[in-house]
């Protein structure tokens, strides 16, 4: 099996200013052709540290893909380091020089800055990977059945080179040694914790067939369950994954709202569109988040005419007809208030359903009876109103996110 290391170069990655999205992208692309990324190493713009990292990766892996430090300014040192490490001289690559010059001309510059000539200097024996999105080409060196590649760190340039050169060349060079297909499917759940899920799903040894693995990935909004498998073909991998998925769904199907990149709001909007039904929102502590999430989904206008954000008690009374008595007797964070908000929104917007959320997101406003994180959600339709009380942990932003998750999931469960 082929192993690969990604070597990300750049100070900005080490001081927390920039998140390393390149490594994720490259990993995904390599996985899709059966190459395993065994390690991602990130280092700053320091010649000694970079050289050491290249040396180690080249020794241990079949393929090394480095990114960053190919630009025209003084802090771009990667190419010189790579040339030195492989004992190659830098020589002028005429087609690249012509390409860089043409690029400057196309932007209306009469003359290319001196600094950019350096970008056409290529280590002898390296293959040039033409970059249509910028001035620095990618470089590939194949020796002793191993491949070293270096790409610019600018994400859209790196992506262009991965798609147009790297994947094709790796497929060709390592044809005989490319591993099995590596396939993944992620089932998305919400409203149930990791250990509860694992308990309900049961011992993995009883259902993980074909060498597949199952990983639990918790996020604020819920736990994702990723099934991964290696197989001779995509079809075989798919069959194995679907068999495992069937088992999991038989145990916890109701908690699964989607797969892979799908969202909870996307699932809800799709269900409503299919049923030709509509929803309205009446929000207090989430302050518009539920409406915003629903309208994130293209085509939401079919199923969502609108909502009210009633953040103050006055607006709860004026816009949603919550009575002063209700607010006085039970408070704004109460089942009674949630019901009044939902039922009033149902009438006001003339929808099939209306959801109301009222709670204490914090940091202030909590009491011993109703601590921060107390949230009432009401879901109304023409048959009546159901309510649910939640006690969410976490900070303000997380409580708001979980509240809108819970509201969407209440509606989803009603629709399925």
């Amino acid at each position: 099996m082929l192993t690969c290391e990604i070597l990300s170069i750049g100070d900005e990655l080490l001081i927390g200013q920039v998140v390393n999205t390149n490594a994720s992208y490259i990993s995904e692309k390599l996985n899709s052709i059966g190459i395993d990324v065994t390690r991602v190493t990130t280092v700053g713009d320091d010649a000694t540290v970079i050289t050491k990292a290249i040396k180690r990766a080249w020794k241990e892996q079949n393929i090394v893909i480095a990114t960053g430090g190919l630009g025209p300014t003084h802090d771009d040192i990667s190419k010189n380091i790579v040339a030195k490490f492989f004992g190659k001289k830098l020589i002028l690559h005429k087609q690249t020089l012509a390409r860089v010059k043409a690029r400057f001309a196309s932007f209306g510059y009469k003359k290319m800055p001196e600094a950019n000539i350096g970008q056409a200097m290529i280590p002898q024996g390296f293959t040039v990977l033409p970059n249509d999105r910028g001035t620095a080409p990618g470089l590939l060196y194949h020796f002793n059945r191993k491949t070293f590649i270096i790409l610019p760190g600018v994400p859209h340039e790196m992506k262009f080179l991965m798609e147009n050169s790297v994947i094709k060349l790796l497929r060709k060079i390592h044809k005989k040694k490319l591993g099995d297909v590596i396939a993944h499917r992620t089932l998305l759940t919400t409203g149930i914790g990791e250990s509860m899920l694992a308990e309900k799903v049961g011992d993995v040894n009883n259902f993980l067939v074909g060498g597949a693995t199952l990983a639990y990935l918790p996020k604020t909004s819920g736990v994702r369950m990723r099934i991964s498998v290696r197989a001779k073909s995509e079809q075989i991998a798919k069959n194995i994954i679907e068999k495992i998925e069937r088992h999991i769904r038989s145990r916890i199907g109701a908690h699964i709202y989607g797969m892979n990149d799908e969202t909870l709001e996307g699932a809800v909007v799709a269900l409503l569109r299919k049923r030709k039904e509509r929803i309205a929102a009446a929000e207090s502590c989430t302050g518009g988040m539920l409406s915003m999430r629903i309208t994130n989904v293209p085509g939401a206008s079919e199923i969502f005419p609108g909502g009210v954000v009633s953040y103050s008690n006055d607006i709860k009374m004026q816009e949603l007809g919550v009575s002063e008595a209700t607010l006085h007797t039970y408070g704004a964070v109460s089942e009674e208030c949630a019901i009044a908000m939902a039922e009033s929104a149902l009438k006001k917007f003339g929808t099939t359903y209306a959801i109301a959320i009222t709670g204490i997101a914090g940091p202030d406003g909590g009491t011993s009876e109703r601590p921060v994180g107390t949230v009432w959600i009401a879901l109304a339709d023409s048959y009546g109103t159901t309510t649910k009380l939640f006690h969410f942990g976490g900070e303000r932003a997380i409580i708001r996110e979980r509240s809108s998750d819970a509201a969407l999931d209440m509606l989803r469960k009603k629709l399925i």
Copy 2:
């Protein structure tokens, strides 16, 4: 100078499923107390590979911070590997068990799942870092002037531990060896492009004193300008940064809405609170995002009674009194409609200001006259209403984000 390696553990980071945001966050925190991150290594859930990575990091660095693999399920293997590497037995930590049980109880579970007992097993001699945000505690081991730390991979849990334990402990343990202070200050701008900003600010050589650097970091919401400097003390670093900041502010002050972690909505809420004024929102294409952003800020209830999401034309008429004639003659995405929405919201909510947003977020709904990205924003107060037309690029989510940015910035400029 102290060196540190971050060791990110998890298959999800190697298959492109999750972007490694934890490493960026940890780097930034360590930088702020003068600790340099020299390398970030990312490996999958493989015992051999993890052990090798720990061994190398422990040999070469003063401080190692690992994240991930501390959960309760079968694929969480980090703790056992760490215990084995350091030759420690796992022993039951009673306070942690009590804490985990209490956590389940607080969520209304009668019984803690069996799997969670494992989370209270701690390698002998390790310090437990209590985790108020989840069930897995952080762990710290100090030996031979070196420190090894492992934290859960769930971002908000990791952040809680970094802020409440790790930074304080590292400051204490390594007090004498902490290097020069590395200080950064980021000035946040919106509504103006990178090259425009650079032109207005002028040649950096004229104002960058004390070895400081200035980096321009463009984001969807605007360009951030990061000033960085190393100095003997926080006070010296602060003086240098403030001198540079004064120059920058003298040139482009009106475009700067905040610093570092501040947000545009935070700046607007602070200004309104100071002036004892209130705002209401009437949203179409942003679907609640403006209200949501305002209510993200703790204390927003003082300045925000509520808003209307009028996604459909019916609701624009019914709830905001937009006339059928306006919709028929000018359409929903028009200056006239934006004005009607804002002025109606001003009356309805009785606030000092009201903002209305109406536009085409796409992907559908664009015409040659009004392409996707066309957005009208109106800002009303008792003196009248000002409007602005925008043509935003990008996809649906970006157009919505930029629309709410522009609305907040219109209000901010009105308030300063």
